[in-house]
Amino acid sequence: MAVRSAVRELDPTKQHRDWHAVRSLADKLTTPLHPDDYLRYVNPLWTSREFRGRIESVVRETEDAATLVIRPGWGWRFDHQAGQYVGIGVPVEGRYQWRSYSLTSTPRRRGRRITITIRAMPEGLLSDHLINGLEPGTIVRLAAPAGDFVLPDPPPAKILFLVGGSGITPVMAMLKTLTRRAGQHWPLPDVTLVYSSPTPDRMIFRERLEQLAAEHEAVTFHPVFTDEAGMFTLDRLDEAVPDWRDRQTWACGPGPMLDAATEHWEAAGLPDALHLERFSLEVGDDVGEGGTVSFRDSHKEAEAEPGTTVLEAGESAGVGMPFGCRMGICHTCTLTLVSGSVTDVRNGDRYDQPNEQIQTCVTVPNGDCTVAI
């Protein structure tokens, strides 16, 4: 996980080192606050205390989806990997609501913009607010890019993208990056995209994908319109992409689709060739001791392996766990630890006082513990 302060210290450029020195001098004037705590009143983007961004424009993609063009404030590195997601927090009735969305822009500094593409979910008040209620100029909170749904560098020679609905967003960033960077160090891989959507109108990025396929011989685009053609079940894969077994596959879409894909690839004896999007922090599996997590008020329990966060344990047990950014920024997931001990995966801090507040998305149990939910 990209912890910001760590990133700052590792920053190799001299310019950044000098800047850091100036800032730490200025810190002496504003302690215990940071200079940024004052500067943000001059320009809300002039702070790197927490990432911020300004909504530059909201571009409609389909009837129910839109792309937010965001200008990040100080400290943003523009060095995400295609396929990663960011957290975005917007105030709703005084309370920041956080969600994570895949970046659809390619990683590069030029332009100083990032984009995320959001589909309004039925009943999803926040996603609806994000695409219909955000005026350009609105200041939002951002969380650093994270996620391991990324392509290796160099990419494999043959790739299959298996996409359902708004799962296209990380894949779009990958496709853009592949086509942009091809020819520099490696040729454009042989890419096939199988992309299901109910109707052509609801298919996000349809025109851009058609254009990409037309421009690049190596890119094959298989749109599937499920209202006419029915669900794209994986027994049709042999017909659509006969050589799928030779490809590294990245799949992103609704849960049932991913479950089916996991089964299908396992049945073919190729579990390592399939890469899935998981909205979660990269936690090493050697952090914490694992143990039984008890959820006091819901009378449920879950076994957590080392490296499994309290939040993941709760979700696996079917507890309605609150969550937001899933990377320790937003505090939406904070719960009270009734007993036991947990470790913060970001810094190794142990929390073992009874009734301590813990951020469930970034803490792993050390032995058995109980949380109040």
Binding site: T31, P32, L33, E50, G94, R95, Y96, Q357
Partner: protein
């Protein structure tokens, strides 16, 4: 013995006490459900005002420092204005913002920058130690002798039940020192010097805490007494003086407000027997009986961190402070309904009573008239005078969950 034996509400049956508790729970639930954008705007406004004051103060002092020598009046005016603004900024930051943010009053906003786990305040005590000594030790064990270290802060004898010693004769002097050096008194509070003296303190924990205090205190001293005076060049002396005055103003003001919370007449002390097997409703009752409010306009309440609503604050320490006036209407009504005293008076009177207690209790009990303070014309409780030593965390019950966010590991005092 349980708290239900304290005479102020022996007239209440156990059922009535639980009923009162349920009604207070309902008040909490109502406020929690109605927190909204206007509340968020309030704390943002306070923070903006505080930052503006702090920035303006530094600019005014620098302007005063570099103004030509012959413009005496301007130089003086700028320094006085700067000092007053800085004092106001520190008071606002420590009281209405820092104290309340660290209670978790604004955690509901999910704003990582205004959150109890990350806030560091403009005073020498590291936030983490404050959250332990205040949110836990003081708020959970409010006014329980031997458990609540805020009864006299280990320096003053504030209850007749505390054993007198000749050292107490110096109380008026210690009190004056505490008022002027309040920031540093608070900084050392969680260290628990009494336990260190008795060699009961874990040396590792003591070292850790001391390091934190030294780091934070050093930065605070450097800022106000070295860096800004140095930047003031020819006016370094005036800037230094102005900063001393600002810190002193904040110290004395916060001392006065804090002494009005639990030391005026009518705010009762409790013994450990009284809190045995205490229910949540009884905890509410103890907060109401042990706290005192003072009257004032909106500006006074903001300047005192809403601690004029001490009773409401102790009932609901983690509800947003701008809601206390509204909550007080319900609390007053419930107090009247159940015949429980709601201690309130003007600020000068509340502080005057605290001062009288400090002075009177510097003398042995037998030399002074019991009925003159604390209990008015009521009979004095018969609790034994005992040498009530301070308890360590291992001897205290676990923290109650309604006391707001508190975490030992979550906050770092590196700033």
């Amino acid at each position: 013995m349980a708290i239900a034996d304290v005479k102020e509400y022996t007239h209440l049956s156990a059922e009535q006490v639980e009923e009162l508790g349920a009604k207070l729970d309902a008040v909490r639930a109502r406020v929690e459900a109605s927190r909204n954008a206007a509340d968020a705007a309030y704390i943002h406004r306070m923070i903006k005002l505080q930052r503006g004051l702090a920035f303006g103060a530094r600019v005014a002092m620098l302007a005063g420092s570099y103004a030509p020598k012959e413009r005496k009046l301007f130089r003086r005016g700028a320094m006085v204005t700067g000092s007053a603004m800085l004092g106001a900024a520190k008071i606002l930051e420590n009281m209405e913002i820092g104290h309340n943010v660290m209670h978790g009053q604004w955690d509901w906003m999910n704003d990582p920058e205004i959150h109890s786990s990350t806030w560091e305040w403009d005073t020498a005590q590291p936030a983490e130690q404050w959250k332990h000594s205040h949110n836990y030790v003081h708020h959970q064990f409010t006014n329980v002798l031997g458990f609540d270290n805020d009864i006299g802060y280990g320096i003053l004898r504030m209850a007749r039940e505390q054993k007198w010693s000749p050292v107490n004769l110096g109380q008026p002097v210690y009190n004056a020192l505490l008022a002027t050096l309040f920031q540093w008194g608070v900084a050392l509070h969680d260290l628990d010097i009494e336990r260190i003296r008795k060699l009961e303190k874990d040396p590792k924990e003591m070292k850790r805490q001391l390091r934190q205090i030294l780091r934070k205190g050093r930065n605070q001293v450097l800022k106000d007494y070295v860096v800004y005076p140095a930047l003031s060049g020819p006016g370094w002396k005036q800037t230094l003086q102005a900063n001393v005055v600002s810190n002193l103003t904040r110290n004395v003001w916060s001392y006065v407000i804090i002494f009005c919370g639990h030391f005026p007449d009518g705010a009762l002390h409790f013994t450990e027997e009284e809190v045995e097997d205490e229910t949540r409703a009884e905890w509410y009752l103890r907060q109401m009986l042990g706290s005192a409010n003072f009257e004032g306009g909106r500006a006074l309440h903001i300047a005192s961190g809403s601690l004029g609503y001490q009773i409401e604050h102790h009932l609901f320490p983690d509800l947003p402070s701008n809601r206390y006036p509204e909550i007080s209407v319900d609390v007053k009504r419930l107090c009247a309904e159940y015949g429980i005293p709601y201690t309130i008076g003007p600020l000068y009177k509340q502080y005057g009573q605290a001062l009288r207690t400090i002075t009177l209790l510097s003398l042995p009990n037998s030399w002074t008239d019991h009925a003159s303070e604390k209990y008015g014309d009521q009979a004095v409780p018969t609790a034994e005078v005992a040498d009530r030593r301070r308890r360590s965390d291992s001897e205290r019950p676990h923290r109650r969950s309604e006391l707001g966010g508190w975490s030992r590991a979550g906050a770092r005092a590196e700033a």
